[in-house]
């Protein structure tokens, strides 16, 4: 299945990309994170468990167990600092 993955702020800079279309079959947010970490290098360190990261699925805040379906837009980003 195809999903759209986006990266913002410091994470975007660390990974060197703002996003990608991914052909993969993760069933949850946690599964997608594990799949991306398996790329190794900066992917493994920037997305490591324990890093304070937030995730949104289809522009709504999500949890590790949130399901991922074909066509979804999943965004990874650091805790927000607006205002």
């Amino acid at each position: 299945m195809k999903v759209k993955v986006l990266y913002f702020a410091g994470l975007r800079e660390q990974l060197g990309t703002a996003g990608e279309d991914l052909d993969a079959s993760p069933t949850t947010v946690a599964g997608l994170r594990t799949l991306l970490m398996a790329r190794g290098g900066v992917w493994q360190s920037a997305l490591a468990q324990g890093k304070a990261l937030r995730v949104a699925v289809n522009q709504e805040m999500a949890q590790p167990g949130t399901p991922v379906k074909p066509g979804d837009e999943i965004a990874f980003f650091p805790p927000v600092t607006g205002g």
């Binding site: 702020a9 410091g10 522009q59 709504e60 965004a75 805790p79 927000v80 600092t81 607006g82 205002g83």
Partner: protein, 156 residues
């Protein structure tokens, strides 16, 4: 639209006048303006760049405004947040709440800012003499937002 994301500056007086719209039921206007400071965590800040997540930002802010309207009896709400490059003393964010009485307007305005700080996808990057750095989220902001999660009465 109660929510606007823009690069350009805003005129607080004009925004308040427009939101009031001459409505004689408005007895109170509470507003908050967030500004760019020239120093943070002991370092001088020369430029601040605000990044956001187009699409989600508007949705998140509209949800916060809806929640404020459900909790307090307010008449209207406006949130304006700037993105892009800002300098010290520049305006960053404006929240305006109109209501019949000040209690609801004050409470809703503070609630919206506290939730905006922790739930709306904005990120600040600062230029300092030792280089560029992303601003880290503060636990005090989480604590401020957490206050509103307590069961509350409508006595605000």
């Amino acid at each position: 639209m109660p929510v606007r994301i823009q690069t350009r500056d805003f005129d607080v007086g004009a925004e308040i006048t427009a939101l009031r719209g001459g409505n004689p039921k408005v007895g109170a206007v509470a507003s908050f303006v967030g500004l760019c400071r020239d120093a943070n965590d002991g370092e001088a800040v020369s430029t601040m760049t605000l990044e956001h997540y187009p699409g989600m930002t508007e949705k998140a802010l509209e949800k916060i405004v809806d929640e404020a309207k459900a909790r307090w009896k307010v008449i209207d709400v406006l949130v304006v947040h700037r993105v892009g490059e800002l300098k010290p003393a520049d305006q960053i964010v404006l929240v305006v709440v109109t209501g019949a009485h000040r209690g609801e307007a004050f409470a809703a305005c503070e609630f919206i800012m506290d939730y905006l700080k922790t739930r709306a996808p904005f990120w600040k990057k600062e230029q300092t003499p030792s280089g560029a750095r992303w601003v880290e989220a503060r636990t005090s902001d989480d604590a401020a937002a957490g206050r509103w999660e307590q069961p509350k009465s409508d006595a605000a």
